[in-house]
């Protein structure tokens, strides 16, 4: 599944070359061809995060203080970890720990 991922608020520093925007192809985990946010996080941890994964993930979810938007919508409205992603969705991860 082709997705666009964006990292901000300092999270991009955990990725290779501190690149903020990544166009990725995430394989579905189950046989139904669905990709959930939970599955995406697992894929990001394995394939994109190069250092200090604890700054991005805590257990199966994002670390407290990381905001997740799916197509400019708070993931809490979309279903959180169980939200199902669709082709060409844009998922944004922003760390809010820096204040400002």
């Amino acid at each position: 599944m082709h997705l666009t991922l964006e990292f901000g608020g300092g999270l991009e520093l955990l990725l290779e070359k501190s690149t903020k925007v990544h166009k990725v192809d995430v394989p579905p985990k189950d046989g139904e061809g669905k990709v959930t946010v939970s599955g995406l996080l697992s894929w990001v941890k394995s394939n994109l995060i190069k250092e200090r994964p604890e700054m991005f993930l805590k257990g199966d979810s994002v670390r407290p203080g990381v905001l997740v938007l799916i197509n400019d919508c708070d993931w809490e409205i979309c279903g959180g970890l169980d939200a199902e992603l669709e082709e060409k969705d844009v998922v944004i991860f922003i760390s809010t720990l820096h204040g400002g």
């Binding site: 901000g8 608020g9 300092g10 979810s61 670390r63 407290p64 203080g65 905001l67 938007l69 400019d72 919508c73 708070d74 809490e76 409205i77 979309c78 279903g79 959180g80 970890l81 944004i92 922003i94 809010t96 720990l97 820096h98 204040g99 400002g100």
Partner: protein
Amino acid sequence: MAAGSAASCGGTGCGSHCSSSSSTAAEDATAESLGRLSVSRECGKCGGGVGAVAVAGGVGLCGECFRAHLFGKFKLAVTSNAMVRPTDSVLLAFSGGPASRVALQFIHEMRSKAIESWDASNSQALPVFGVAVAFVDESVLCSKPKQEIDMAIEDIKSIGFSVGIKAMHITPLEDVFSMASKDGEGRLREAVDMIDDDTGREDFLQCLRMLALQKIALENGYTKIMLGSCASAIACHVLSATVKGQGYSLPADVQYVDTRWEIPVVIPLRDCLARELSLLCELDSLKTQQHLDRPSNGINSLVASFVERLREENPSREHTIVRTAQKLKPFSFNKFSADGYHDFLPSRLRPKFQNVDNDESTFSGILCLICGSPFNESELRNLESTKHKAQKKTDLYTAHCCQSCCFQILPSGGNLYEHFFSLLPEFWTGRVDTVSVSHSLPRDQIEEYLLEDNDDS
């Protein structure tokens, strides 16, 4: 649905999804056990099938309502605390982060609306307040390449200009050290390096930032400094100040208004959460610049992580912490003096101001030389005692520092104090009255000539 702030719907009603009226403990427990809020996908304010994109106070809101919700909080803070007079020239402290970015956007919008009203007004009797932006450039302490720093500074400038701000002050932090000496950078680095404690260094830099903002405001004629400090930052400060033993002075730092500085400081985003402000920046494509942020290793970042974990369990925790701290009695300088406001002050706002006929209208206490905290009784007694027996200026400078700054900021070796104070900006040390020391001989030089208390004459 988890409980949210009672003010989240602005009193206008959120429809059937309003959490303040319909949630039960059982529903809260169910929602929390699922590890997420069970929030409706329809806007809880305007309804009508409009999709929600953001959560505020446990309610899903569409983009427009979410924005209006935050702007409403900002405007209410500004107007109900009379933060900005029509004659004011406001200096907004912009760090590049989302909170101060939103403050910049909102104050600009308030000003634009005020200008429209002024244009439409027949009398045009009252002017419109002015807004400028200040950015304190701390890149001298940053290990990033110069090219990256320059690009980040250009981004800061472009953000200000994109909002229509004409006056932008990009001031290097070392400038506060440069008044009497050209080597401001050297003195800044040396002073910071003398502080052993990571948290102490961070707090010292925070004090220097305020000093830099005060300097910019005084030199350019600004009458108010507006900070982007949000509820999340204040909640963190409440806990970290408690940990550091700064409980006495804590009420001074968590109010909307702080007039202990030469240029009063106002905090209009005090009721907004960092998460909400970050979300608004994304939804409205408000550009931020956090490339120059430095990693934090001390108590402050530990507390921030702790507060985030609390928030994960209950989104209202930050508001709860701030509301609890509000129960502490503020100082007299946490209100404006009515002087200068008479022409603009509606009667409903008069209780917000110091009573000019009352002795409380002027704060007569001592403020810490470094952090500006008001002295408690113990610190005042120590200062009085030191004044009588001080043999060196350093003794007086030390006695003018609060216990917290003495512990975590002053160098660990007492013999280093003199050098440390010699590095500090004269803006600071010049406020300490050392006349009594300069005119008295050191006691040990005249010891042999002094009569003992029990000597007969």
